[in-house]
Amino acid sequence: MAILRLQDIYKDFSGLKVLFGVSMEVQQGECHAIIGPNGAGKSTLFNIITGLYKPSRGEITFLNQDITRSSIHKIARMGLSRSFQIINIFPKMTVFENIRIAVVSRFNRRFNITSFLSRDRKILEESDKILSLIGMRDARDVPACEMSYGMQRQLELALTLARDPILILLDEPTAGLNAEETRSIVTLIRKVIQGKTLVIVEHDMEVVFNLADRITVLNYGQVLATGTPDEIRGSEEVKKAYLGRI
């Protein structure tokens, strides 16, 4: 079953045309990678799916609901979560507080004024659970801005997962990480996406072929090919576009 469907997405930024009729489907439970050269429109696609931009043309369906013109927070509440290429955490809040504020949203307590957050057991427990899942127990009370880049990347991932989403979009989760950090974050990703659907944008081909069930190749705002890793590896068009980079 396709839980995310993009139909003919065009995006024109007041003259700067970025996407030309992108169509793709994401099947439930799969790990679907989007690859392509820089400028191909991958991040723009993510921004459109999650509601930051509206497409100039085309439709997006999530769980059989049209989310083309939905607001960012509405899409997030439907169970679609994303991470950011450039780390986007709450810098002065501690790691725990970062996760906690995401959990508050998950339990729909956003407008609650009848309880004290520091005493809300349900939220505290769930936040601790995620903290353990992501392996950051030791950094619980460290302000996010004081952590190393690698740990901030982990927190970035944690925030994406904290809402227990149905569909996760990861935008270059290994950007800026060294080989060892990359390996550990890939292991982490594998662990946490059990039973979820994942769409991942990546440049690191090793990561892509490690994780992906299917790959979509984007080039100059158009879909070049979609298929299994083997199909993509063997595709002449893809090779031409990448000039032998795979």
Binding site: I72, P91, R110, F111, I113, S115, L117
Partner: protein, 325 residues
């Protein structure tokens, strides 16, 4: 219980005792000043809800203060016999509604845009108050008689008596500030603060930034309305000065000098500004220059405000004694 907490509790206890005994300890003219300080402390706290906790700087915060003030004055003028507390509630609600309307337009924006649109609305209300002489008497203003407060068990207190006025103001302000403090501990309070840190991420986590900020803005208006109402009762007079640019600037000064990073910073700022106004204005009429310079210095060199300096000392003192023992 650690040392810091103990210090806080002791400090709070002493302060509370002082506030309660103030009319007994100090001469009447100081009780008068203390009442005014309380009123502005609440006003400054309501302002800091937006600046310190939401990261939004309004240039026109006097709008809701003024709305509360005029609401009270108009009720006193046109409806005799309205109980004081009900009047206060209505004024607070007026401030709330005013903030709801203004906020609906303001909170979509941030930074300079937010500051300016807030100013635009305040200037608009000021112009209305100035020109609508039939209702407000313009810049000539209207006199207001302090009402009596009926409390079951205590009888009728005339607020013309400065001691009674002080205690009533103290209780109301203390409750309002406490409500604000508790509010910041709720999930909604935390949500607003997270938006100051990273508004994009908050959105992507499912938060409706507009509605959240509107809620805080409205609550801030509610509190400002209370302080405006108390101000009118205190001054026994209302004029367009309650919502002019100068009033907006005053609260900006107070909160910033006191320190926007701490909940009680604005209170300290209100105390500082009013005490110094009282002290220096008798020496020179250019005390506003002094305040302005202090303000600029704080912005340049002491971002945490006066209360920021306060904290360092304490921590340093803790360090020193711990080393010795």
């Amino acid at each position: 219980m650690n040392r810091r907490r103990a210090l806080k509790i002791v400090g709070g206890g002493i302060a509370s005792l002082f506030l309660l005994l103030l009319p007994v300890l100090l001469p009447e003219v100081d009780v008068h000043l203390a009442t005014e300080i309380l009123i502005f402390a609440l006003f400054a706290v309501s302002f800091n809800l937006l600046l310190g906790y939401c990261g939004l700087l309004p240039f026109g915060h006097a709008a809701c203060f003024g709305v509360g003030a005029y609401a009270t004055a108009l009720i006193f003028k046109h409806i005799t016999g309205m109980p004081f507390l009900i009047t206060l509630l209505i004024s607070a609600l007026s401030g709330f509604v005013g903030a709801l309307i203004i906020g609906f337009f303001c909170v979509r924006l941030s930074g300079s845009y937010f500051a300016l649109i807030s100013l635009a609305f305040q200037m608009f209300l000021y112009a209305v108050a100035l020109k609508w002489r039939d209702v407000t008497n313009g810049d000539d203003g209207m006199g207001v008689t302090r009402p009596d407060l009926y409390l079951p068990g205590l009888g009728t207190l005339s607020l013309m008596n400065i001691q009674y006025l002080y205690y009533v103001t103290l209780v109301i302000v203390a409750l309002a500030i406490l409500a604000c403090y508790l509010f910041l501990k709720t999930p909604l309070g935390h949500a607003a603060v997270s938006m100051r840190e990273n508004v994009i991420r908050a959105s992507f986590l499912g938060y409706n930034v507009f509605l959240t900020r509107l809620a805080i803005f409205s609550f801030s208006g509610f509190l400002a309305g209370i302080s405006g109402a108390l101000f009118v009762v205190f001054e026994e007079f209302v004029a367009t000065t309650v919502m002019d640019v100068h009033m907006s600037f005053t609260v900006i000064l107070m909160a910033t000098i006191g320190g926007t990073g701490h909940f009680l910073g604005p209170v300290l700022g209100a105390v500082f500004l009013m005490v110094f106004q009282d002290w220096i204005s008798s020496l020179t009429k250019h005390w506003w220059l002094f305040m302005g310079i202090v303000f600029v210095m704080v912005v340049l060199y002491a971002e945490g405000g006066l209360i920021g300096l306060f904290k360092w000392e304490k921590i340093r003192a803790l360090f020193v004694s711990e080393k010795e023992s």
